[in-house]
């Protein structure tokens, strides 16, 4: 980066890395607009695969703890991600899980409903646009005719979060993190560069209250959902009224706030990208429990059967793909972590 040497202070070194991710977090980093100049003023970037041409070897040659802050986005899906995560952890003083994928597994984490074999079968065979009669799949090693050995990272059965792989100091959730929260994170970097002070380990750069606290929609005191709708099934969504009161599944009631309620302000339900509220171990179970409590079933005392009353069953059947809805961003960080696949069908890690 071209910069003038007007600052006598020593600049901090930062690294940005992407693992299993869409790249949206890297783009979001640029959304902070002119603030990026503040970042350049206080920091030298030593690794940023999406934007700059540094090689892994450059980082490998560095002394341990010589990078001040590493912003790591993306889940850990294959052996390369793990290797680089471990290397960056060794070289960095502060490791920040940046974005929902690094914090909770995110959308790539939904791969945990299948295993490698099943994913390869869909991706390299079953998709309509694929012609692969010999079912060629990526191999970790091969010899070329010239006798040269080529290697590829190994694809794993299970997606892991960053903190299941290495020690993580701070979390910046969001898919992607919103500009305000990235600015907060930059503020932390600036303070660190200036004074060397850091917030307590494990801090999450977001709010400690859940999204409902930020949301301005009016809600009924006694919530009762009579039918569950998906947003496109309703002709009109009242912009003033709580989405749950209108029958739309909104995850805000167990999701951490801090995003500025952007989705709900745009008449779309919260999907839970900021992860569970503090102290909640399992995001999906918490949302599920809350939603089940507000299902509107009449005359429940009359339903004296042992099993599930039909009305309840009917309401629950209106949720398409419950696991994908409730654990959309947090499957790898949930308690069960992945779907159990019986060994006959394929290995499981």
């Amino acid at each position: 980066m071209e910069e003038e040497k007007k600052e006598p202070k020593k600049k901090i070194k930062i690294a940005l890395y992407w693992a299993a991710t869409c790249g949206g977090c890297d783009v979001a980093t640029l959304d902070i607009e002119e603030k990026i100049l503040d970042v350049i003023n206080i920091a030298d970037i030593v690794l940023w695969p999406v934007a700059m041409d540094f090689k892994y070897e450059d980082v490998e040659k560095m002394e341990p703890k010589s990078i001040d802050v590493c912003l790591f986005n993306g889940a850990v899906r294959n052996s390369e991600h793990e290797e680089i995560a471990k290397m960056l952890r060794e070289k960095s003083k502060v490791m920040i899980a940046f974005g929902s994928c690094a914090c909770f597994g995110g959308i790539p984490g939904l791969g945990n409903v299948a295993n490698r074999e099943q994913i390869f079968k869909v991706a390299y065979k079953d998709t309509p646009s694929t012609v692969n009669p010999e079912f060629v799949t990526p191999q970790t090693e091969m010899m070329t005719n010239g006798g040269e050995k080529l290697t590829l990272p190994e694809f794993w059965n299970t997606v892991k979060t960053l903190d299941q792989t290495v020690d993580v100091d701070y979390y910046v959730p969001g898919c992607p993190p919103t500009v305000d929260r990235i600015n907060d994170a930059v503020g932390i970097l600036a303070k660190f560069a200036e004074t060397g002070e850091l917030p307590p380990k494990g801090a999450v750069v977001a709010f400690d209250k859940n999204l409902c606290d930020e949301c301005e929609r009016k809600r009924d005191e006694e919530k009762k959902i009579k039918r569950i709708y998906r947003p496109h099934e309703l002709k009109e969504i009242d912009p003033e009224k709580c989405l749950l009161d209108q029958g739309i599944l909104c995850m805000g009631l167990a999701t951490r706030g801090g995003c500025g309620a952007r989705c709900v302000n745009a008449n779309m339900p919260c999907r839970g990208c900021y992860g569970p509220s503090p102290e909640i171990k399992d995001h999906g179970a918490a949302v599920l429990s809350a939603i089940a409590s507000i299902l509107g079933v009449e005359d429940e005392a009359e339903m004296i059967d042992i099993g599930t009353p039909e009305e309840v069953e009917e309401l629950l059947n209106q949720v398409k793909d419950p696991l994908g809805t409730f654990y959309r961003f947090t499957l790898p960080s949930s308690m069960l972590k992945r779907v159990i696949i019986k060994p006959e069908k394929g290995g499981e890690t």
Binding site: D282, S289, F326, M335
Partner: protein, 142 residues
């Protein structure tokens, strides 16, 4: 795993409410009903206290089955705690099915006077879980 289907002693965690099922279990004991020793009871004040996370945690820590007992509908000591429990368990079952842990959670309404029903339910459940085999999560834990 050495333990095969039908030939293992399942561990079942039972969450029971203080007012009905726990008292029902007590009655089963004082009236000397016989039932398999697979159940480990945890007493809660109300079945409405059950958070799906309790069930997940039990399964995660190696329980082969989870039993939830509460008062009959309309008889809840707290008026409608058991309705919440019923809906939550129903919702939890839908995701457990997707997680591959189908049929391991059972709920039953047992009142304080139904010691017989408690013993019968325990027998049935132990048998069902034996047929299902050990909790697949156990391979990871043990």
């Amino acid at each position: 795993m050495e333990e095969e289907k039908g030939d293992f002693e399942p561990k079942i965690v039972g969450f029971t409410c203080n007012w009905c099922t726990y008292a029902g279990a007590d009655l089963a004991g004082t009236s000397r009903k016989k039932y398999p020793p697979n159940i480990r009871l945890i007493r809660l004040m109300c079945s409405g206290r059950i958070d799906p996370m309790f069930v997940l945690k039990a399964l995660l820590n190696g329980a082969d089955g989870v039993f939830i007992g509460g008062c009959h509908p309309g008889e809840c000591h707290y008026i409608k705690g058991n309705f919440y429990a019923r809906r939550r368990i129903a919702a939890l079952r839908t995701i457990l099915k997707q997680f591959g842990l189908d049929n391991r959670v059972r709920s039953e309404w047992i009142s304080a006077s139904e010691g017989d029903k408690f013993a019968r339910t325990m027998k049935e459940m132990a048998e069902e879980i034996k047929q299902l085999g050990p909790n697949p999560m156990r391979d990871k834990i043990l």
